[in-house]
């Protein structure tokens, strides 16, 4: 079984986001970019399948800020091959364009299963797994928390609200949007990541960036207007604790 895991970089939300001078994108210059956490979950699920079936894993990413780090980390964790699609520009790549770029590259690949993150913090025009599935004309399912392969099928567990879940059996090839892997993403020791970086082996392929895009126009990007803001409690931990207990007791609790 060959599993392909598309991965992408997103701004580290721990940092303050600023809107650029055009007012339609974030200012990317000083931002730190990290791997999309849901893609890390997808990679983990792929690694678990590899452990149980001996599948081969290829990770693929667009040439985005610090993508090398993400791809080499994936290799350090056990991915067999990493591909970087180059020439995709510096700014925001909408999901429609991303799906077209990946679909074009995938047309030259043979694969059984694509696992990727169920969503990303900037996928305003739609989620990659679903878009790519529709573009490729293969079955797709989102919000999946478990993938179990069996012959030429996979059984996936899809989550719904209030804890309901549905198991769907899907014929391969298919694409699945992973919400969470069966276990927390594994840790790759820094020495192994360095080793992977030193051995190189990142395959670079020029991307075919032809795409009609999302058809959306962002008119304005702005910080949310604060409808209200919490009344902040300052002071020493003891003072704050006293105030919190007073608030709780005002609701008739903790008498």
């Amino acid at each position: 079984m060959h599993i392909i895991v598309p991965m992408k970089q997103i701004p580290d939300l721990v940092e303050e986001l600023e809107v650029d001078s055009e007012g339609t994108d974030i200012d990317r210059e000083y931002l730190k970019f990290v791997s999309n956490e849901y893609d890390e979950q997808a990679l983990e699920e792929a690694l678990l399948i590899k452990e149980s079936t001996g599948a081969e894993i290829t990770v693929v990413g667009l040439d985005e800020e610090d993508i090398d780090q993400t791809l080499y980390t994936a290799i350090a964790k056990g991915a067999d091959k990493a591909v970087k699609l180059t020439g995709t520009g510096d700014g925001w790549v909408d999901t429609h364009t991303r799906a077209d770029i990946l679909a074009s590259w995938l047309s030259g690949q043979s694969f059984d299963l694509i696992l990727t993150g169920v969503q990303a913090v900037d996928d305003l025009d739609g989620q990659l797994a679903t878009l790519l599935g529709a573009r490729l004309g293969i079955p797709h399912a989102a919000v999946v928390v478990e993938v179990q392969p069996k012959d030429d099928k996979v059984t996936v567990r899809q989550e719904f609200s209030a804890g309901m879940a549905i198991e769907q059996e899907i014929s391969l090839p298919a694409i699945v949007g992973i919400q969470a892997a069966r276990q927390a993403p594994r840790y790759a020791p820094i020495t192994r990541i360095r080793q992977a970086m030193q051995s190189g082996g990142l395959e670079e392929v020029a991307a075919n960036t032809e795409s009609a895009g999302s058809g959306l126009s962002i008119r304005r990007l702005y910080l949310p207007e604060k409808a209200g803001h919490a009344e902040m409690i300052d002071g020493s931990p003891e003072d704050v604790a006293d105030k919190i207990l007073e608030l709780i007791r005002s609701k008739g609790l903790l008498k």
Binding site: L124, M164, I166, E167, L216, P224
Partner: protein, 320 residues
């Protein structure tokens, strides 16, 4: 192209989701300013059509593949409805169905999609959708300039009241698409959470913990506080995904909706996923060292004191 607004009625568990009524309410408002109708698409459970009184038309479709939720069958069914009725706008919720179907419909119907929508307005003949992105840190105002579009709407963005209004919609049965007979996906099992064990939905108060707790070992201190206060410990999604707490503890879109008198939270930044499950709590007190965390826009009281200092102080005082 019409000026109709089409809403996908969501019924994966056999009953209509709250979000369906929120969407119907907004659709009614938009359709009346555009001069169109509200159409609800309902697959597999025609008996629920009578609950969709806010719609002008309910299109029902039945087929063995639509008896339970199947993303592939739903995609084909929805594509057929949309291609036949050509609405101005299709509304879905940002739920599993929304994440499965909206982007696919954007391909099959060749229409632009805006995800994570929290506001919808009409300017002239343009539909303006405002979305919440980057974990709620930024808002994106987008114009759907095409003559058709799709939005997935975050739960709780619109009131459900208008969508629950009663009426007598025309119920039209549509034949399923012919390609609905050899699905590559089949639904093999539907499960609901097991009864028994902890029930965070009935507690008067919850102590809730998020990513800021940093490690599984650290959970002990918030558990100690919850025990001292005699209330359950709940959490945001990352804690569940890490396997640090079992699923019945999860508050949020993919977990449980709670409405306690007091929701005391530590190290939760306030991602939309979480807010959906707790924003109706009577008193929300949030502790987070990031003063710009979105949770402080929702909480009634907040503090940036480090939870690792605050929690032990609270435990001492509660234990007296």
């Amino acid at each position: 192209m019409s000026n109709d607004i089409l809403v996908l009625a969501e019924n994966p568990g056999g009953e209509l989701a709250d979000t369906t009524f929120e969407l119907l309410g907004k659709a009614k408002e938009l359709a009346s300013s555009l001069g169109g109708q509200v159409i609800a698409a309902l697959f597999g459970t025609p008996e629920l059509a009578q609950n969709l009184g806010a719609a002008d038309v309910v299109i029902t479709m039945e087929h063995p593949s639509l008896a339970h939720y199947n993303p592939e069958a739903y995609e084909k069914a929805l594509t057929k409805v949309v291609q036949e009725r050509q609405p101005r706008l299709v509304l879905l919720a940002t739920t599993t169905l929304g994440l499965d179907l909206a982007a696919a419909l954007s391909v099959t119907w060749d229409a632009p999609l805006v995800s994570y929508v929290v506001g919808l307005d009409i300017e002239g003949s343009t539909i303006v959708a405002t979305a919440q992105i980057y974990g709620g840190k930024l808002m994106a105002e987008t114009a759907i300039e095409a003559d058709k579009g799709i939005c997935t709407v975050i739960a709780g963005s619109f009131s459900a009241d208008l969508g629950k209004s009663t009426g007598s919609p025309n119920i039209e049965q549509m034949d399923p698409p012919s390609e609905l007979d050899n699905e590559k996906i089949s639904c093999v099992n539907l499960s609901r959470p097991e009864a028994g064990g902890i029930d965070i939905t009935t507690a008067d108060m919850l102590v809730s913990v998020g990513r800021g707790i940093q490690s599984e070992d650290n959970l002990e201190i918030v558990q100690e506080l919850a025990d001292a206060m005699g209330v359950p410990l709940s959490s945001s999604r990352p804690i569940i995904d890490q396997g640090w707490l079992p699923k019945p503890h999860q508050v949020g879109k993919s977990g449980l909706k709670v409405k306690p008198k007091v929701y005391l939270m530590f190290g939760i930044s306030g991602a939309p996923e979480h807010l959906e499950g707790m924003r109706d709590a009577e008193l929300i007190i949030a502790c987070n060292t990031d003063e710009s965390a979105p949770i402080f826009d929702v909480a009634h009281y907040g503090t940036t004191v480090d939870l690792f200092d605050l929690v032990p102080a609270l435990v001492d005082k509660v234990q007296g």
